[in-house]
Amino acid sequence: MIYTPEIGRIRKIKKETRDARTFRIELENKELRDNFYFQPGEFVLISVFGIGEAPFSISSSPFKKYFEITVRKVGNVTGALFNLKEGNYIGVRGPYGRGFPMDEFEGKNLILIAGGCGLAPLKSVIEYILEKREKYGKLALLYGVKTLASILYKKEIKKWRRIFDVYLIVEKKEKNWKGDVGVVTRLIDKIEDFKNSVFCICGPEQMISEVINSLKKKKVNHADIFVSLERKMQCGLGLCEHCNINHIYVCKDGPVFRYSELENLEELKWEEK
C-alpha cells in the first residue's frame, strides 16, 4: 500500500569512513527480493521505525538480490541507522525515481564526476557497466574529496584503477598525498575525448554547478550532461511537494536529470553562484 514500507533486513554493515557506512539490505519478501531491479541513480526510502524515513541513492549493482546504500551520519534517520546492527529490520520503499539512461549510454564513453558522498549512485553506474563492459566505450572517474580520510569505497577504487581511469583530487594538501590538490573541476583537463562522451555528475550542488560551467567551456552538449540532484524527498511519488524545483519533482522526474532539462529552471539559478 502507498506509503507502507516493505520490511528489509540489514545483512552487512561496512565502515567506509569516520562518519559513513555502507548497509547491505535484503528484502524479506522472496518474490519482491527476486524482482528488485532498478536503473543506477534511482533511490530508496529507508525507514527506521519510530524515528523516520529518508531517501538514499542505491550504490550497488542492480544485478544482485540485495542492494546497498552508503549513509553519512548527518541527521536523525542516519544517526538511527548507525545504531542498528546486522540482522536488524528496517522499512524499505522504492526503488523510486528516474536513474541514468543506461541503454542510451551504450556505445558511448562515460565520464563520471563525483564529489564526496556523490560517488554512491555513480558506484552503481560503474558496477552496471563492469557487468556489461563490452557495450560501453571508455570509462573514467573523476573523484573529488575534502580529505583523504573521507574517500569512499577505497577497496573498490583500488580494483577499478586496474580496469579504467580513476583520477582523484583532494581539496587541501595532505602529508601522504602526492596526487592532485584542489577542486574536482581541475580534473576535467584529464579528459581526452569530449566527443562521443556522456557526463554523469553527482555531489554537492555547488560542485555540480562548477563542473557544468567547466563542461560548457569545453562545448559539451547540454543534453549529454546528466546530474543527480538531492532534495527533501518524502513521499517519493510527486505528491507531498517537498522536493519540487519549479514544476519538476526530483523524486519522480529525477533524481537524475539531463542538464538541458534543468538549465532554465528559475529556482536553480546555478550560473549566478
Binding site: 524515528i51 529490520y89 527533501k232 519540487n244
Partner: protein, 321 residues
C-alpha cells in the same frame, strides 16, 4: 427530470440519510460555522456564506494514521480500517470543485481515494457572495461534480441529481417532480480578475521586486495553507508510542514554513520568505497548470479572510496582471 424539496422536509430528508450514513453538515461551534458530524438536523446552519475551514480535512485529515508498526522479533505492520459511509450536506460549489481538482493529483493515493469513494456530496448553491469570494474568476461558482445539487429558491430547494446515487435518492416521495428547470440568477462577486493566462503573468513577474515588496509583511504563519481547500502538501511522520510500537502519520504542512525545505545539517532550500510565497503561488497557478492543466485555486477567499498580515492574494493576482 427536475426535482424539488420543501424546506420543511429538509429535517426528514437528513434523518433518512442518517439511517445509512454519517451526516456531516455546516454547524455553528464557538461562534463560527464549520463542517461537523451531526446527530440531529436541528444543528444544521443555513445562513452562512461558507464554512471557516474547507471540507479538506474529511478527505485529507491532518495527522491521519497511515499504518501502525510493532517491533517484536520481526516488524508487524497494521493498517487502520476506515470505511464509514458519509454524506456531506451543504458544501459550496467552490469546495466541491476543489475536491475534483484534488482528485486529479491524489486520485492514486489510497487513503484519499477511499474517503472520496465513501462520501456522497450534496452541494448547496450560493445565493450571495462573501466579501472575499472570487470564485467567478475561475468559473468555480458552478459545481462541476456532485451527487445532489440544491438551490435555495425560497420555500423550497430546487434539486438536481448528478450521480447514480443522487438519481436513486430523488425517487423517494419527499422529493417532488418539477416540470421545468429552474433558472438561477448568476452569482456576482465583487472581486474578479481574469484567470486565463495567469500562469504566464506569474512566470513573467518571477524576477520582479513585487514579490519581496508585497510579501514583506508575511509572517510565514501558514494560516492561508491551513484554510486553503487545495493546499495538500504533507509530511510523513513517525510517531512512537513506546520503544517498540507506534504510528506513522500524514501531517499536513506548508511550503510557507522554513521547515518545509529544511534538510539534514540545517540547510534550507527556500530560506528567503519571498521565495516561499513564490513557491506557494506558483505551485497553484503555474506548476499545477503545467503538470495537471488546472489552477489550484477556486476563489473561496479564505486565505484573504484569515491572513493576520492582511495579505490579499486576489489583489496580488490582479496586480501582476
Amino acid at each position: 427530470m427536475h426535482y424539488s424539496l420543501k424546506k420543511t422536509d429538509l429535517p426528514r430528508f437528513i434523518n433518512l440519510l442518517r439511517e445509512n450514513y454519517e451526516v456531516i453538515a455546516p454547524v455553528k461551534k464557538n461562534g463560527v460555522v464549520i463542517f461537523n458530524r451531526i446527530s440531529s438536523p436541528k444543528e444544521i446552519v443555513t445562513d452562512y456564506i461558507n464554512t471557516l475551514y474547507p471540507p479538506k480535512n474529511f478527505f485529507l485529515p491532518d495527522g491521519e494514521i497511515l499504518f501502525e508498526y510493532r517491533k517484536s522479533k520481526k516488524i508487524e505492520i497494521k493498517h487502520p480500517e476506515d470505511a464509514k459511509k458519509r454524506v456531506i450536506y451543504g458544501m459550496r460549489p467552490c469546495d466541491a470543485n476543489a475536491l475534483v481538482k484534488l482528485d486529479k493529483i491524489l486520485g492514486g493515493d489510497y487513503y484519499y481515494r477511499r474517503k472520496r469513494e465513501n462520501t456522497r456530496i450534496i452541494v448547496v448553491n450560493c445565493n450571495q457572495a462573501g466579501e472575499n469570494c472570487f470564485c467567478t474568476s475561475f468559473g468555480d461558482n458552478e459545481a462541476k461534480e456532485f451527487d445532489l445539487l440544491f438551490t435555495d429558491v425560497g420555500e423550497k430547494f430546487y434539486v438536481k441529481p448528478g450521480s447514480k446515487w443522487g438519481k436513486e435518492l430523488v425517487k423517494i416521495n419527499i422529493f417532488s417532480k418539477e416540470r421545468k428547470a429552474f433558472e438561477r440568477n448568476s452569482l456576482e462577486c465583487k472581486r474578479y480578475f481574469p484567470a486565463k493566462g495567469i500562469e504566464k503573468r506569474i512566470e513573467k513577474s518571477f524576477n520582479s521586486k513585487i514579490w519581496e515588496e508585497y510579501f514583506e509583511k508575511c509572517f510565514s504563519c501558514t494560516a492561508c495553507s491551513i484554510v486553503c481547500p487545495l493546499c495538500y502538501c504533507f509530511d510523513l511522520v513517525h510517531s512512537p508510542e513506546s520503544k517498540n510500537k507506534g504510528k506513522v502519520k500524514r501531517v499536513l504542512s506548508s511550503c510557507l514554513s522554513l521547515e518545509f525545505s529544511r534538510v539534514a545539517r540545517n540547510f534550507v532550500f527556500r530560506s528567503n520568505r519571498a521565495d516561499r510565497v513564490k513557491q506557494f503561488i506558483s505551485h497553484k497557478f503555474l506548476y499545477a497548470k503545467k503538470n495537471y492543466n488546472q489552477y489550484l485555486c477556486v476563489g473561496c477567499g479564505r486565505c484573504i479572510a484569515h491572513c493576520p498580515a492582511d495579505i490579499d492574494f486576489e489583489k496580488f493576482l490582479e496586480m501582476i496582471g
